[in-house]
């Protein structure tokens, strides 16, 4: 299926339209936000602390008198960047290992999957906390951690997807020809699992974004004063009773992006005929 026909099939579904619209809106916003934000997102104002939404500050202000509209518009950039890098890394190592063990089969497969099983059984938050304690806080430092822990589920998906094909005759035919393993992976299997992995990549991206936000929320992610939705929610949570606007905007932004990506991924999966039933969020 070509890209344009896939897009057409995606846009035929109402959820696809909503999803793609949300994603496009968010990406556009992330790109142009620095040029259009009305205020400096880190400008503190002792005279404008915790103001409710008004004409000057349509989204209100936070405890340091910073403009929440500007912060909300910019609040996804860092997380999105990190999510993108982590996803690429997670997909790379996860898919490679998954495809490799699927093709290798036998003992290698059994041993590797047993270890992956064990890793997966440790909650990712716990794993990340252990890593963060080891590597230090800082959003960029999270990239290896996130790509490792999220890559684990990619191993599963890639392996399962590849297993559908390793027993097919065209792989057998390639083996009979005497093709090298790498060639078989690259030429025979990868093109067939590409769609599955692409959809998976999109979902991983949203989950990693969610993970980063959760970590920022716990104080282990993006460093202040950079505007970040997770940080903003954590910051406003204690006062959301008195100043609900401090949490509602970042919540709306974060949720709409993640829901949008998932709606789009879902529609893409449907359009490509990829089964994404067992796409469990956390690895």
């Amino acid at each position: 299926m070509t890209a344009s026909s896939t897009l057409r099939a995606v846009l035929k579904q109402p959820s696809g339209v909503v999803g793609v619209a949300l994603v496009v809106a968010h990406v556009t916003m992330a790109l142009v936000a620095p040029m259009i934000v009305p205020h400096n997102p880190t400008l503190q104002s002792a005279g404008a602390i915790l103001q409710a939404p008004s004409w000057t500050h349509p989204f209100g202000t936070d405890r340091l008198g910073r403009d929440l509209l500007s912060r909300a518009l910019l609040g996804g950039r860092e997380a999105m960047l990190i999510a993108t890098l982590s996803t690429v890394a997670a997909m790379l190592w996860g898919a490679m290992l998954g495809l490799f063990v699927a093709l290798q089969g036998g003992r290698t497969d059994a041993y590797v999957m047993r270890i992956v099983d064990a890793m997966v059984s440790i909650p990712w938050v716990l794993m990340v906390m252990i890593f963060v304690a080891a590597l230090g806080v800082g959003a960029r430092a999270l990239i290896p951690v996130l790509s490792f822990s999220y890559g684990l589920s990619v191993v599963y998906i890639a392996r399962a997807a590849a297993l559908d094909f390793v027993a097919r005759d065209f792989v057998l035919a390639a083996q009979a020809r005497g093709e090298r393993r790498v060639t078989i992976l690259w030429r025979e299997i990868l093109p067939n699992v590409r769609d599955t992995l692409a959809v998976q990549g999109a979902m991983q991206w949203s989950w990693i974004l969610l993970g980063i936000s959760s970590l920022s929320f716990l104080g282990l992610g993006v460093a202040p004063p950079a505007p970040d939705w997770g940080l903003m929610i954590a910051d406003g949570r204690g006062i959301m009773q008195a100043a609900p606007w401090t949490v509602l905007w970042p919540m709306a932004m974060l949720s709409s992006l993640i829901v949008g990506v998932n709606l789009a991924a879902d529609a893409i999966a449907k359009a490509l005929g990829v089964d994404r039933t067992f796409g469990v969020a956390a690895p």
Binding site: R168, F170, A176, R177, G178, N192
Partner: protein, 611 residues
């Protein structure tokens, strides 16, 4: 009194481009105890028509026009409850795949009892006895125990019998059969056909049977309707049809069936059926027809045929069917130096693990046990046997795809071949190529034909893109495909075309030996004929030796120089094809021949049964 009357039935796709419907203007009339066979190749709409007779239209399809009157009720427009009441007591269906049609989580007995219960037949207490009775009637051994089993615990033949028993549960007056024997071994097939024949005689029910295998229909039904591109093109009494098929398509179809007695390659039908969804313009068969004329631009109406029945053709041919002359003697056998020598090949499935060895569990039985044969240069050797006889395993062991337990495989000029492909050198790999049964699976759906053909060229000959382009075109020409196919993907090809591409890929390696694993069994019969002649032509012109594995002795006999009959992992008999088929020595060979004759017995079809 008509039991079944179908008028003007047209079933179209529910969505998508408007084009040729799946079933067009079908008309069928059937009285009580009458039988009708519907023949046609895959995609002609025969199964859709059959399901519509029960009032069922699969999702994605819709009834565009017409009625199906069943026992006085139009089942297509009847309320759901009325439809339900008809199903079982009036009409019942034996599905194509019994294995998929039995509910996995219910015991056989319960499923049968359910069929009885839903129509309020019999008091609950009487049902177990009736269930056992039904199982006994379909000749299942030990009905009491079978009733307690789950579907997955039965063999394919047993499940088919259970499906028949289920259909019979409410004593239907019309039994529908959808490919009742496809996917079964020849001997199992034969047993099922015998059973159905007996049951029909015993119960006096009417029967509509759909099959791609005219031999099956000839044995079960008194009338045969042939469908092509959604239309019934011929509807004749079976005897008249088999001796004097009138529609050019029907004639070509019959000529493409390999016959055990003939020992020659059957004739193929050029071209391919219209693509699904294409717009109907006049007679659909025109592009492939030998007799097309000016009036073929209109859809032909039915006309009566002198020898009985009717045909939809502007220029029907009522002459007797002319078949290629039979081959006699051990002709065509090429004896030369052995190129592939297999000695004492033994293969076991699985390996006794350390635990099994410790507790003294015996090693698994050999699937292939002491098989030896020699394949001469340019020779086509057939390896025939039922499923489980080990024929495909031999092929895979030779190709290095399955570890052998013992034995030596020698390739002249390359010495003994290592057991696994990874241990073989490139030259040895290049000289032996394998073609698989199912081209859907053996071609990577994500690669274009060019990429598919490029792989052996690059691997063995380091071909540049320009060379790939040139040689790809040549190879396509060799397998009678247009060069434009280089850009296509397998999904855009028909089954026969895909298998041609698979052959082209194998021959791209310029092999000395080609291994063919049931390469035609997934194809329609008319396509099979063309693929068989292609294999013969390629092997002969290139001097490639071929090891051809199949379950159908008629196919093997038609193609091969020599035949080895495989029985339970051993070679029962080996010799020139003509000799094996005309003067079999082994009892097993004789049974194979009998089955082949019975299943495709229409050459010498007796007078029609009284109906």
């Amino acid at each position: 009194m008509r039991l079944l009357s179908v008028a003007g039935l047209t079933i179209a796709r529910a969505a998508g481009p408007v084009g040729r419907p799946v079933v067009v203007d079908a008309g069928v009339v059937l009285g009580p105890a009458q039988t009708l066979g519907i023949a046609g190749e895959s995609g002609c709409g025969k199964s859709t028509l059959l399901l519509a007779l029960m009032g069922i239209v699969k999702p994605g399809l819709r009834v565009a026009a017409g009625q199906v009157w069943l026992d006085g009720t139009d089942i297509l427009s009847a309320p759901a409850e009325d439809q339900r009441r008809l199903r079982g007591p009036v009409v019942a269906l034996v599905p194509q795949s019994a294995a998929l049609s039995l509910t996995p989580t219910m015991r056989i007995g319960a499923q049968l009892a359910e069929a009885l219960a839903v129509h309020g037949r019999l008091a609950p207490a009487a049902r177990p006895a009736r269930v056992q009775d039904l199982l006994a009637r379909v000749r299942l051994p030990d009905p009491a125990r079978i009733g307690h089993r789950y579907p997955h615990e039965l063999s394919g033949g047993q499940m088919q019998r259970v499906a028949i028993a289920m259909a019979l549960a409410c004593k239907p007056r019309l039994l529908l059969l959808d490919e009742p024997t496809s996917g079964l071994d020849a001997s199992t097939q034969s047993g099922i056909l015998d059973l159905l024949d007996t049951l029909r005689r015993e119960t006096g029910m009417a029967m509509v049977c759909v099959s791609h295998d005219i031999g099956v229909l000839a044995r079960l039904t008194a009338r045969i309707a042939v469908m092509y591109a959604g239309r019934i093109v011929e509807d004749r009494p079976v005897g008249a049809f088999l001796r004097h098929p009138a529609h050019p398509y029907a004639r070509a179809l019959l000529a493409s069936v390999p016959r055990i007695a003939a020992l020659v390659l059957p004739l193929s039908i050029p071209g391919r059926p219209p693509a699904p969804g294409s717009v109907e313009q006049g007679c659909a068969f025109v592009p492939r027809c030998v007799r097309s004329g000016a009036d073929c631009v209109t859809v032909p109406a039915f006309r009566d045929v002198a020898s009985g029945g009717r045909v939809a053709c502007h220029a029907p041919d009522e002459g007797p069917l002319i078949l290629p002359a039979a081959r006699t003697g051990a002709t065509g056998a090429v004896r030369g130096d052995g190129v592939l020598i297999v000695r004492d090949l033994m293969v076991r499935y699985g390996k006794a693990g350390p635990l099994a060895r410790l507790v003294g569990r015996p090693a698994p039985p050999a699937v292939v046990d002491g098989v030896s044969f020699t394949l001469a240069k340019g020779e086509i050797l057939g390896l025939v046997g039922e499923s489980g006889s080990g024929k495909s395993t031999i092929l895979r062991a030779v190709a290095g795809l399955w570890p052998r337990s013992a034995g030596v495989v020698t390739l002249a000029g390359s010495g003994e071949l290592a057991a696994q492909t990874v241990q073989r050198d490139r030259r040895a790999l290049q000289r032996v190529q394998i073609v698989f049964q199912n081209p859907d699976a053996s071609l990577n759906p994500r690669q274009s034909v060019r990429e598919i053909l490029a792989q052996p060229l690059r691997l063995y000959f380091n071909a540049t893109p320009a060379e790939v382009e040139r040689q790809g075109r040549d190879l396509l020409a060799d397998v009678r495909l247009d060069p434009s196919y280089l850009e296509r993907r397998p999904g855009q090809l028909s089954g026969g075309e895909r298998q041609r591409v698979a052959l082209a890929r194998a021959f791209a390696a310029r092999p000395d030996v080609i291994l063919c694993d049931e390469v035609t069994s997934a194809l329609d019969v008319s396509v099979q004929a063309s693929v068989l002649s292609l294999i013969r032509a390629l092997c002969r012109t290139r001097g490639t030796a071929c090891l051809f594995v199949a379950h159908d002795l008629a196919v093997v006999a038609a193609l091969c120089d020599r035949v080895a009959v495989l029985h339970m992992g051993r070679i029962a008999e080996e010799g020139p094809a003509t000799l094996i088929c005309t003067a079999p020595r082994h009892a097993y060979t004789r049974s194979l021949i009998e089955i082949a004759q019975r299943n495709a017995a229409f050459g010498e079809y007796p007078e029609p049964l009284p109906s």
